[in-house]
């Protein structure tokens, strides 16, 4: 079986994600397992963004909003369940829950509805307008989370016990890592299938030449809107996992800094590469950990590195290692 270089690098990246925590488990270093879990979750958020950014060519600068919506789905449902307060009592009673599967469904639905509304407005524009407006809508949701006092406002919301998953002790670091890694794997596999499907080809076609797409009878707006919604849902799922990892959710998950970081994962790793977000998130967390351990002001060298990547190493990590992007 022949394997091209990108597939080879993807295998190494995937293996590294699995092996590092296993070694850490052997060496009894739970902190490293937590870092690897963080990488898996951030990578998943990036996989969501990559769908619109890499394949759709739509620079969404507001994906932290969806990340935060997922986080708040976990936080709000868990806090109602733990305080035995129903979320609503009329016309029928809805209780909170600590079951991750229900939380994920809620996160997916909530983010889909909000992404549909935001996408319907923002996708009428393009270019810089699109960047700024997605940013502005994310800020709107961010400020709403800050000023709405019911769920902690600016202080955020604690999840006292990590939510549960059938048959798994989620409080055990390696079990929770395994869950997050499987979810990341599913998200990457789903993206891979999606971009090779008719829908994915249309999405990439709309990026390359939207007029020609229209001419062959495919409306780019609807394709992009669906992609935007799917992308938001994947990022929201990552957000729900992230809230459970930290057992805490706060508006800072929705801040524009977070949007920037998710974008950095994608670009550091390689735009429009299936495993790019994993490479980027991994590199980011490693840098944060190494530089942060040495110097309090580690974001300064990080900024410089980022500048160098943008100016000189276009294509990100996967791009540098695997060469030019192949046409799908």
């Amino acid at each position: 079986m022949t394997m091209n270089r990108e597939t080879f690098i993807n295998c190494i990246l995937g293996l590294a994600l699995v092996i590092v925590p296993l070694i850490a488990l052997g060496m009894d270093e739970p902190f490293i397992i937590t870092l690897a879990t963080k990488v898996a979750i951030f990578a998943m958020a990036g996989v969501g963004l990559n769908l619109v950014l890499g394949y759709g060519g739509l620079v969404s600068f507001g994906h932290a909003a969806f990340f935060g919506i997922g986080g708040y789905a976990a936080g709000i449902l868990a806090s109602h369940a733990l305080n035995y307060e129903p979320i609503m009592t009329w016309p029928f009673e809805i209780e909170g829950t600590t079951q991750m599967i229900i939380i994920w469904i809620v996160a997916l639905l909530a983010s889909a509805i909000i992404a549909l509304a935001i996408g319907a407005i923002t996708l009428r524009t393009s270019g810089v307008y699109f960047i700024m407006i997605t940013l502005a809508f994310a800020q709107m949701i961010y400020y709403f989370a800050i000023s709405w006092p019911a769920y902690g406002g600016e202080d955020g919301l604690s999840i006292y016990v990590r939510n549960g998953f059938p048959g798994l002790n989620t409080l055990d670091p390696i079990s929770y890592f395994a869950l997050c890694a499987v979810m990341l794997g599913l998200a990457i596999a789903f993206s891979a299938v999606l971009i090779r499907s008719r829908f994915g080809l249309a999405l990439q076609g709309a990026r390359q030449n939207s007029q020609r797409m229209t001419a062959v009878g495919i409306a780019p707006f609807r394709i992009r809107l669906v992609a935007f919604v799917i992308s938001a849902m994947i990022t929201a799922l990552a957000g729900a996992l992230y809230a459970d990892l930290n057992r805490f959710v706060s508006p800072s998950m929705m801040s524009w800094h977070m949007s920037g970081e998710i974008m950095v994962f994608v670009i550091l790793g390689g735009v429009g590469r299936l495993f790019g977000p994993l490479a980027g998130a991994g590199l980011y967390i490693i840098l944060e950990h190494l530089l942060g351990g040495v110097w309090e002001f580690w974001q300064l060298p990080l900024g410089v590195l980022l500048l160098i990547v943008v100016l000189f190493a276009r294509g990100g990590l996967v791009g540098v290692l695997a060469g030019e992007r192949k046409h799908v």
């Binding site: 620079v59 407005i121 502005a136 002001f297 990080l302 943008v310």
Partner: protein
């Protein structure tokens, strides 16, 4: 109640004018160079810190104000020559990422030099105190002064763009870059000047606002996003749009925060009226933006989307 209303109206005007100083630079840089600059908020922060540091060192607010203009303009020119220049021909994604990296560098660098604690700027002696305004209420003299100064700078900017040789070149640069380069205008220098001009305006706004609030790392970011909302509403590249947009956003934001809780209090209990009112008020400008875009996708004075 009515005098409070007038006072809030003036506060809205003040925030609108300060926003214009930010937004005009952003929109100029986009109009002429086609660059989206996230680091514009960092230049605002540089201005505020320069003003605070020099004012504390020399004891003179005026020297501080000069310093804010100089420091922001120099920082802007340096950044343009070293980095931004390489980004004009890149796509927006590269521009967003590179200027995001610049924010990290500026913010972390400032924290390194000045520490994480906010600095405070004191108002110059003869601008302290209040004045009695028509409608019989007291308004801080300094705030009134920065409204006037802001409008003076705005008028100066309109004269510069409309009446001077540099302004002609800037407008020509917006219309057709290739042509003015072919006509012998040193386009690199023009770009550096435009960028430094935008930076100086942002730095000045930073110094003014830093005096009424506090000077701290990250202070530029909320303003930057408001300035984005402004130029999206006004139409990217349009100075006139930036002015109208700034005033609209300044008034909507200030009056929304003031009026909405009162409005909800007419039919809700005070606690939930404040909660719902202030939550909605914080979203109001974005709702206005969405409405404007729904009706005119390229903004009020924009030409192309």
């Amino acid at each position: 109640m009515f005098t409070l209303f007038l006072e809030q109206l003036l506060n809205g005007l003040q925030s609108g004018v300060m926003l214009f100083l930010m937004a005009s630079g952003l929109t100029l840089v986009f109009g002429v160079m086609g660059l989206i600059n996230l680091a514009h908020g960092s230049l605002y922060m540089v201005g505020a810190f320069a003003c605070a540091a020099v004012a504390a060192w020399t004891g003179s607010f005026w020297l501080g104000l000069m310093a804010s203009l100089m420091a922001a303009a120099i920082a802007g020119a340096l950044v343009e020559i070293l980095i931004i220049r390489r980004l004009y021909n890149r796509d927006h994604l590269d521009q967003v990422l590179a200027t995001f990296a610049l924010i990290l560098i500026f913010s972390e660098g400032t924290r390194w030099i000045f520490g994480s604690f906010p600095l405070f700027l004191s108002v110059p002696e003869f601008l302290t105190g209040t004045v009695v305004m028509p409608g019989d209420f007291q308004y801080p003299l300094f705030r009134l002064a920065i409204i006037i100064a802001g409008f003076a700078v705005a008028a100066g900017l309109f004269l510069l763009i409309g009446k001077t040789r540099l302004g002609i070149r800037i407008r020509a640069g917006e219309a057709d870059r290739g042509m003015i380069a072919a006509l012998g205008v040193d386009i690199d220098r023009l770009y550096t000047i435009v960028f430094a001009l935008g930076a100086a305006l942002a730095g000045l706004a930073g110094a003014f606002v830093g005096t009424t609030q506090s000077v701290q790392v990250g202070m530029g970011e909320p303003v930057l996003i408001l300035a984005f909302v402004v130029i999206v509403i006004g139409g990217i590249g349009s100075i006139k749009g930036a002015l109208i947009g700034s005033l609209l956003v300044g008034f909507t934001d200030t009056m929304g925060r003031f009026l909405l809780p009162h409005a909800f209090a007419t039919f809700l209990d005070p606690a939930s009226a404040t909660a719902i009112g202030s939550a909605l008020a914080s979203m109001l400008i974005y709702i206005v933006m969405a409405l404007v875009l729904f009706l005119r996708p390229s903004g009020l004075f924009g030409t192309e989307a």
